[in-house]
């Protein structure tokens, strides 16, 4: 049995993985397909239908916002952006963090010390201050948000990967490879990286909700995604302003945000259980 099939079999045997994975897949599917099917567009305003409550009539199941835009399409659009930002930021942090952590852990000694002190320094930067600076210096864009979130998230990943690499480096199969004359690059990619897989996958699933929260937080503060583009955080922000008259504008995006976060957290926990056990070899 290959590594992948074994992995797949183990994932399928965990009910938490199947359920939370399934719900997430459904959300992503609806978020992509929903706006295509709906007769409405997320930008199209309709001043005859400002703040109308959710109703089956006119296909506006989530109602409309204060500019008469269809809330269903906007929420789905927001979910797309939110998940996209989170996944891209996590993948970026994964690539940087894993590579950085592996090199620091494997090379060790002074290189390790310098690399990790750099990480410590970045940790010490106040995040919001850092983001506001970025926003002031550069033009606001989605790219900037990727960078801002990625810059924070890779630090944790680098620390975790370094720790794992330190213990893998002392394993006998790595010593055997070193002794034979296998090059450091080949040791890192053939011997260390594959054995990090489980931990990394589990950890990424836990950094995604972190990134979602960060993005929502930024958008809620008005530092993130800008109108007319939207995200779940921005929608919640808009909903808070209309909380008294049009509670659906707050409740619907907030509920979806909570559901997505919950699914990722469940999935992450379940994956960690699957991979972290010593039995996984």
């Amino acid at each position: 049995m290959s590594v992948v099939t074994r992995l797949w079999a183990r994932l399928r045997s965990s009910r938490a993985v199947v359920v939370s994975g399934g719900v997430l897949a459904a959300i992503v599917l609806v978020a992509i397909v929903g706006p295509l099917i709906s007769p409405h567009d997320y930008l199209q305003t309709d001043f005859n239908r400002i703040l109308s409550a959710p109703a089956m009539a006119n296909m506006q199941v989530f109602g409309t916002d204060d500019l008469g835009r269809d809330l269903f399409v906007r929420t789905m659009r927001g979910a797309q952006i939110t998940i996209l930002v989170a996944v891209v930021a996590s993948v970026v942090s994964l690539l940087i963090g894993v590579l950085y952590g592996m090199v620091a852990g494997y090379v060790g000694g002074r290189v390790d010390a310098v690399m990790m002190r750099f990480v410590d320094t970045l940790y010490a930067l106040p995040f919001i201050f850092f983001v506001i600076l970025l926003m002031v210096v550069f033009e606001r864009s989605l790219l900037l948000i990727f960078i801002a979130i990625g810059a924070v998230n890779w630090l944790d990943m680098a620390r975790i990967v370094r720790g794992q690499t330190l213990s893998l480096r002392e394993q006998e199969f790595v010593q055997a490879a070193r002794l034979t004359g296998v090059s450091p690059a080949r040791i890192i990619f053939r011997h260390i990286a594959p054995n990090l897989l489980g931990v990394v996958i589990a950890y990424v699933t836990l950094t995604i909700p972190q990134a979602i929260l960060l993005e929502s937080f930024l958008s809620f503060l008005g530092l993130g995604v800008q109108e007319p583009q939207t995200s779940l955080g921005a929608l919640v922000d808009a909903g808070v302003n209309q909380m008294e008259g049009a509670s659906w504008m707050l409740l619907i995006p907030a509920a979806l945000l909570a559901l997505i976060l919950m699914c990722f957290n469940f999935l992450g926990d379940a994956l960690r259980d699957v991979f972290d056990s010593r039995r996984f070899r």
């Binding site: 590594v3 006998e172 199969f173 055997a176 490879a177 070193r178 034979t180 004359g181 897989l197």
Partner: protein
Amino acid sequence: MSLLDVEGLSIAYSGERAVKDLSFSLARNESVGLVGESGSGKTQTALALLGLLPGNANVSGSVKLGGIEVLGAKRAQLDSLRARRVAMVFQDPALALNPYVRVGQQLQRILIQHKLARGAQAKARVIDMLGRVGLPDAERQYRAYPHQLSGGMRQRAMIASALIAEPELLIADEPTTALDVTVQAQILELLEELRQDTALLLITHDLGVVAGHCERMLVLERGQLIEGGVTRDVFAKPQHDHTRQLIAAAPRLDCPDIPAPVAGEVVFAINAASVSYEERGRGVLRAVREVDLAVRPGETIAVVGESGSGKSSLVRAALGLIPMQAGQVSLCGETLSGLAQSRSMAVRRGVQLVFQDPVGSLNPQMRVRDIVAEPLVVHEPDLMQSERLERVAAILEEVGLDASYLERFPHELSGGQAQRVAIARALILKPKVLVCDEAVAALDGTVRKQILGVLRQAQEDSGLAIIFITHDLSVVRAISQRVLVMYMGAVVELADNAALFNRTRHPYTRALLDAVPVPDPQNAGGRASLVGEVPSVLTPPKGCAFHPRCRHAQEQCTQEMPRLRELDGTAVRCFRADEI
């Protein structure tokens, strides 16, 4: 009435049966050995007797202890049985004692829990017990934490905690496997001495231990009881084939065919090697002190010693895995420099290593074919894919694995098969020197024999020189031409195989030999002729490092370190080597 009655005990895990229809009984005061190879169901049986099986175990049958059924018993009932009527000594005392609780407290809790004693009376009883298991200065050990005790001392404390409530049955599950052979002998003698009114069920893979310490023995194979009887009879006339195999594979010191000495040019030599580690805040640990070693093509030299003797540090430094503070290493007359990374590819090709843990030395994410092929990829990158695969298949066949193993992952191999793969990986480059670091220590007797056979065959075929590190003198007897005995980082004796066993020079070597359990109930060996344990290498004793444990020590030994001197072809480090 017998003390313990096991009737038709079966244990299964999700359909796989670990123990099948096992029945036996134990009388009061009896000592019985439960023997079998790994996976034979020994430990599962022991756990069942204590009601300790995990929840997913499917148990049937009956286990009656003094008339009380253990299987399916209520929690409260089990609590009153454990410690009071049945107690257990586990294999690894480091894991069995709670690291955050003082040793004395742990024992005292047992007395209090079972309402056997309280307050000052309990404390006195604990201290008395600690004294009886041979812990020096029991008052002080009472207040010690487990990590402050050495391995042997911890196992003594563990035995004390098992015996303090005076149980009727003591189960010892491989109680000495994690310990050095001289300490093993002490612990087994202690068990024998202390148990008086307690029956003993000794679980072990070592037939030598059973021969020396058990009145009866039970042999398990794949969960089934295949033979049982009085130890002496079973050894004299084993009825079952598997028992015969076990006895034949058991390590013995009177191995009839020892390898003949070989002559020739030295291929690999270590000269005056010293290795030391800086222990932060605790000074310098001198792990290896000026050790010389030379090996010729086709020769096997064994390096023997207890843990802490520096044998692993010596070869790791020679291989360039750790830095060497002084000395030289040479391969075919060419001096090798520094660490492995800085050595030439030709040199790295010439010296290979096989580790103790066969599974840990194989990358769990790689297939056997890739594991074995890796050295070729590095050293002969021009090789065609098909040629490489041919070479891999050929070497696997040499170590006794057919082509069906090529696609497997390490977790799909048994310990013996994994070790064959590790040997194949080491041999595929046709090295001149092979270093085996306890390469058979983790294997069962029969498998061990096969692996030693594989190594010997490789040696005959290619004139390979082997440096074999081991703590097991029976392995030394079977495979080596010459033997280097180390104690606290220094060579104490270097002798030919025959000379070492027939005319032992150094008292330390003598003690090691005495301590080896021999699978012969008439003459079981396993005597503890050494007191105490290896002192801390950080603070070695003045004079001869061995003098505090030596029966022959005299004034001079406590003052100066003896030199290594020659006596009839044997090099020995002892002032009194010619008298004793």
